[in-house]
Symmetry: C2
């Protein structure tokens, strides 16, 4: 099949690789209908994570079941499915507690930006639609495989509550989805920290009531000004860098929790500040499957349209250009069509 592979920093190729096959009885093979590039794919792309040259890359996909292993009961070839980036049996103690990303049979999609992807624990992992969805729904369904569920997790982890003030640090696709999640979870005031006009626009569509373009000390001052010096009830940290985390802890009000979903890179947590000001931290890899039924219903009902984050659609053949566009922040998020 044709699949995206990474060979070195900034070296993304479309390659011919062996088709994935059923390895365990609980596996399914999905023909990818739409895939996308994640902010976390940029870590290896930028040389910040180790690379195994020639490995496939990509973990966000929707598609149609091609084949299933003999133990798979709930899906059959032809079903249209959302593929959570992390696979889970949905029956172990961690899954039952809503932390499917810590499933004892955990796995991840490893060839999402390709023609086919293998999904482990298919019965537990996948969620299907009734019949084939309209083409205009596909971007929003695709967003549920990771980015929207991750933004949702940031809001859950940060304890967003009706009537409160939520501040989203980071205006990448996850940050924008976090704005949407904060709105759906009832935040009254939602501040998007963003200085890019196209992203500000999406943030406003998604429910941001305020925009703060400043960063660092000035950004902190702006948030404290907006909250009468108290700080935000909930801070959603959607970047993963030390400076984003620093901002998050400086604008969170005492007693609150910073929700974090950006894979931490170079983050040193300010434990004494956390202690002195009683500011907590919670979050991590999103348990996508936990949120998927609810989010799917919201998409089907037309209440949310997370697919709005895709501002560039490319054929899979042009995946290298997709990475460049995201790396240079020319695109918020790139949808790929195999």
């Amino acid at each position: 099949m044709r699949a995206t592979t990474i060979h070195a920093p900034h070296d993304i190729r479309l390659s011919e690789v062996p088709d994935p096959v059923i390895e365990a009885d609980t596996d399914a093979i999905v023909r990818v209908v739409a895939a996308c590039i994640c902010g976390s794919d940029l870590w290896p792309y930028r040389g910040e994570n180790d690379i195994t040259p020639g490995n496939t890359i990509g973990h966000e996909a929707v598609g149609v079941i091609e084949t299933v292993g003999p133990a798979v009961r709930s899906f059959r070839p032809g079903d249209f499915v959302v593929v959570p980036f992390c696979h889970c049996d949905n029956t172990c103690a961690h899954c039952l507690a809503g932390v499917q990303s810590a499933c004892v049979n955990h796995g991840v999609t490893s060839s999402g930006q390709a023609q086919y992807a293998r999904v482990g624990q298919a019965d537990g992992s996948l969620v299907k639609t009734d019949g084939m969805p309209d083409a205009d729904l596909v971007p929003s369904l695709l967003a549920l495989s990771d980015v929207m569920a991750t933004g949702w997790h940031a809001a859950v982890a940060a304890g967003v509550r009706p009537g409160g003030t939520a501040v989203v640090v980071g205006d990448g696709a996850v940050g924008l989805c976090a704005v949407l999640a904060a709105r759906e979870q009832g935040a009254e005031r939602i501040v998007a920290m963003s200085r890019h006009e196209s992203r500000q626009q999406v943030a406003k569509e998604f429910g941001a009531t305020d925009l703060v373009a400043e960063r660092g000390d000035e950004g902190v001052a702006a948030i404290l000004d907006l909250t009468d010096g108290v700080g935000a009830d909930s801070v959603l940290e959607c970047v993963g860098t030390g400076s984003a985390m620093d901002t998050a802890f400086r604008i969170a009000r005492p007693g609150s929790t910073v929700g974090f979903v950006g894979v931490p890179h170079g983050v040193e947590l300010p434990v004494r500040t956390m202690f002195r000001r009683n500011i907590g931290l919670h979050g991590g890899m999103a348990p996508v499957r936990a949120y998927l039924p609810d989010l799917l219903q919201r998409v089907l009902d037309g209440r949310i349209e997370p697919g709005r984050i895709f501002d560039l659609t490319l054929p899979l053949d042009d995946v290298a250009e997709g990475y460049r566009a995201m790396d240079e922040r020319r695109a918020i998020k790139v949808l790929l069509q195999p």
Copy 2:
């Protein structure tokens, strides 16, 4: 007045110092009836914190109001009061949110181990009893000024819930109070990590259902064994050292929150583990005043007897011996009588 002063590591003296006086209209002066030595007093005693030679020390006290400033409305000379170690106006946004330890008019008791102590924001800080309490209630009332409220905060921060499993890391006085708090907050299984027989005994009296004497890798293995490999629903970290925090994160189940109340010393938080396993951290300086009315009622009703943690009572004159006894772990917690 006679007051405890610290001059260098391991150099604790009873000295003659000026009486505290009303400095702000909202102050009160309390004649100390009983005071005690806190685990956090051992940090400077052991040279782990900076010392200003000759400074008074001690922040836990109960006593009788001696004088009040002209703005104090709710207290008058002769009232018996519990003095929270952190003072607060109980009216600012942080206090109203239940985070009195972050009050905008925050202060701390600075001469608790003495004949008299000045209390800032007296109306907001203090809680009084109806008349003079019986002498046998005094130790439990004294415990409410910090140690019991701090253990309570660990349980709140860790999200202890009815029916769950709570593990308390640390068998100091705070850890033992955390066991009691976990019981009162409904935990079904309460594991005290303790290897000292006298402390194990108090832990059992306070509601521990299991004891784990092992530490480090063996302690972690024992907890995982007790929880079928899942980890604890709530972990209450009551020490503040790197090794205690390390244990806490290794035994917490994915999705849970480590509640921490030990002043962090040499702690580096494992942010990538927290991310990967979705384990949060919350806690810090306890908002004593938030919990005080409820805890006072529990003491008066005889439901809890946190004063059981005091296993050595000394006249204030012998305060240096009290520090030695706690430093050498000969005593769990020392009560001082001025």
